[in-house]
């Protein structure tokens, strides 16, 4: 049972460290020559300030030094984010591989459907300084993840055990704007929130957010009913980068959404794919991976990054405070940055992998394939812009806005009535 490290709110300031004051040392040493000689055998250390990051790093190192591998990992994740065995949906081959290689057994729970909803479930437990059922969880960057960080509800990662990560992570995953220095998180997968639509039903290609203001699509448009994707895309639609937006921009974005509201069929959560497939909606805000996954069922599905821009989000692995098996979690986190492991996962998940080397692996798989189907499949995967976006695409992708406590009521008051009303 790991002990909870004493990491109070002012972790990065005021960690008391033993200090040696010169004067005290000299006073003590001045009593006897022998004492002075003895005293002269040790040298004073450098005085340190209470406000040092180095002190914080030492605390973290102490915590990790005290951890041992327990052989059990409890992993909470989103659905459709782990490879499954073709015959038995409850088996995950890559996890079994991990167990074979490291001896760590994994209990895998697909309990996360919405980052904010999950945050609400775990925050009361973490506030009591109690352990969650899980040692590892995957959460989208945004307000809830930021809340976890500022409340010290996450365990800072062991930087010494991130060799795979630093060797193989993409520029997207390393040092992201929402977690500089990867103090708490390592990216799991990234994705794009753009427009998903059925080209046959809509009748033409969609290229812009303004296409979702088309009166001809009245009652056939879907949007997300949430506090981050919806305002983020609306800000992109009016040509503003959410991370740099001002309250005036928010008002304009809200007006854009209010203008659209009579045309919107429903403000969805994760459940927009089925209505899109069966024709209740023809065009909707959607996630890149979902479209890829369902094109097999409906070849008319398309995904587009609108010309004004779209949102890039990243789901991140992180360790909750008071986790029971943090070292096992750390081992898994670095393990998935192995290009082969990342390729196995990407082969199933079809979102944007944080390991760019995977693309090369897919190209190789296509070359080595012994039948036409596999060849075509891997070739498609390796060149798919939804899995391996090009530089030009990245220029159009923005991150979510992180709000301060004072900004939140203003933001909420503007956007909540749109999807709550």
């Amino acid at each position: 049972m790991s002990e909870r490290p004493d990491l109070p709110l002012d972790l990065l300031r005021g960690l008391a460290l033993p200090r040696m004051s010169r004067r005290r040392f000299l006073q003590a040493g001045g009593l006897t020559v022998a004492g002075a000689t003895l005293a002269a055998c040790s040298l004073p250390g450098t005085p340190r300030s209470n406000l040092g990051l180095q002190g914080a790093r030492e605390e973290i190192a102490k915590y990790w030094a005290a951890q041992t591998q327990h052989g059990q990992l409890n992993f909470a994740n989103w659905p459709l984010y782990m490879d499954v065995d073709a015959d038995d949906e409850s088996k995950h081959p890559s996890l079994d591989e991990f167990t074979k290689k490291t001896g760590i057994k994994v209990k895998y729970d697909e309990v996360i459907n919405d980052t904010d909803e999950f945050y609400n479930k775990i925050a009361p437990v973490l506030r009591q300084k109690q352990s969650l059922e899980w040692d590892l969880m995957v959460l989208t960057n945004g307000m809830s993840l930021n809340d976890l960080m500022i409340r010290d509800y996450l365990v800072p990662l062991d930087q010494a055990r991130m060799s795979n990560f630093y060797a193989n992570a993409s520029t997207l995953a390393a040092n992201p704007s929402y977690d500089r220095g990867n103090v708490y998180t390592m990216a799991w997968q990234s994705g794009i929130t753009g427009i998903a639509y059925d080209i046959k039903r809509v009748g033409h290609e969609i290229t812009s957010w303004e296409d979702l203001q088309d009166p001809k699509l009245r009652g056939k448009i879907g949007m997300f009913g949430d506090n981050e994707d919806l305002p983020g895309c609306a800000l992109a639609a009016i040509g503003v980068n959410p991370e740099q937006s001002t309250p005036e921009d928010w008002k304009k974005a809200a007006d854009w959404l209010i203008k659209q509201k009579p045309l919107v069929r429903k403000y969805y959560a994760q459940d927009y794919v089925d209505p899109l497939l069966r024709g209740d909606i023809w065009a909707t805000m959607g996630w890149s991976g979902d479209v890829l996954a369902n094109q097999g069922d409906n070849p008319n599905l398309r995904f587009v990054v609108p010309k004004e821009g779209a949102i890039l989000w990243t789901d991140n692995m992180c360790i909750p405070a008071a986790a029971r098996n943090p070292l096992d979690a750390m081992i898994y986190m670095d393990y998935v940055y192995n290009p082969d492991v990342a390729a196995t996962l990407a082969d199933y998940i079809w979102y944007i992998t944080p390991v760019p080397a995977v693309q090369g692996i897919f190209v190789q798989e296509a070359k080595d394939a012994d039948n036409e189907d596999d060849k075509a499949y891997y070739q498609d995967l390796s060149t798919n812009p939804l899995m391996f976006p090009k530089e030009a695409d990245f220029a159009k992708l923005h991150r979510y806005r992180v709000l301060s406590e004072e900004e939140r009521p203003v933001w909420n008051a503007l956007f909540q009535p749109i999807y709550s009303g």
Partner: protein, 291 residues
């Protein structure tokens, strides 16, 4: 609360004695009423038929995950075989059952005691107790659930199994009380008086005379509590923390499956339905035999 009436009907079934047909002199056949009645019954049964149909639907999507499509693709009993393959589904059903059984047990004891007291005597404060019960039954679930949540949050009580049982008993006990009370007030006090006259103490009277007479009400009250607990969504969703019950699991399954229900849900629904029907039919047959 909706499934509670399924059980509520059982009291009628158990109580019912065969009634001679009420044909009035020169009455014509009530075709209009009959058609209307059967139409309504059919309308009520439509989703059940859909559920049963789709539980046999053969459908797998190309990426290996199962979905429910609006089209019937072919007949298969495959999903029935895979019923317990999903550990979180099995766990949610186990949780629902345990909570329902615990709730029913507590409600029956607490509710019978209060129901007998209220039905038998008029005492100071009985009016306000009746008012309390009425307010509890009349208050909407969203208020009951959210208010209880604020209590748990302010007292820092962790949400889970325990809080769910506390919440469910609060939700259901009034229905047991009211059922028992109604039955109790219709009982002839002479029976109990006779028992006293013959020298039996109050406890003996209660267990040997009163309880057997109100058994049908206790039984149907318990059934009501069980049905309400196992189907409850709103109060449960507020007070469950990370524990999952079956209705919660079904709701989450829709989200997890990108908007459509996995076949396991329809299969489990059909199985629960079949079991419920069986129990009710057995109960009715038993009652018929006793009458």
């Amino acid at each position: 609360m909706s499934t509670s009436l399924a059980a509520g009907a059982l009291e009628k079934v158990i109580d019912d004695t065969p009634v001679p047909s009420r044909r009035r002199r020169g009455a014509r056949k009530p075709w209009g009423l009959r058609i209307w009645g059967w139409l309504v019954i059919l309308w009520l049964l439509t989703p059940i038929i859909v559920m049963a149909l789709f539980s046999f639907n053969d459908n797998t999507t190309t990426n290996g995950r199962s979905r429910v499509t609006p089209n019937l693709n072919g007949f298969t009993v495959r999903w029935y075989g895979k019923l317990f393959d999903n550990p979180s589904l099995t766990e949610s059903i186990r949780n629902s059952l345990i909570i329902a059984v615990a709730t029913t047990a507590i409600c029956v004891v607490l509710g019978t005691l209060m129901g007998v007291a209220l039905g038998r005597w008029k005492f100071r404060g009985s009016g306000s107790v009746n008012l309390l019960l009425f307010a509890n039954i009349a208050a909407p679930e969203v208020v009951l659930g959210s208010a209880l949540l604020t209590l748990f949050l302010s007292l820092h009580i962790p949400l889970g199994f325990l809080t769910l049982i506390l919440a469910h008993v609060m939700l259901c006990v009034a229905y047991v009380v009211v059922t028992v009370r109604a039955r109790m007030s219709g009982l002839d006090p002479a029976l109990e008086e006779a028992s006293r006259d013959l020298g039996a103490g109050p406890t003996t009277t209660f267990f040997k005379v009163t309880l057997p007479s109100i058994m049908p009400a206790v039984f149907s009250g318990g059934l009501l509590a069980f049905a309400m607990s196992i189907d409850d969504y709103i109060v449960t969703s507020f007070n469950s923390g990370s524990t999952t019950t079956f209705p919660l699991w079904v709701w989450g399954a829709k989200e997890r499956n990108a908007g459509s229900l996995p076949p396991q849900v329809y299969v489990m629904g059909t199985v629960i339905f079949a079991v419920g029907v069986l129990v009710a039919v057995i109960g009715a047959v038993n009652a018929r035999r006793k009458a």
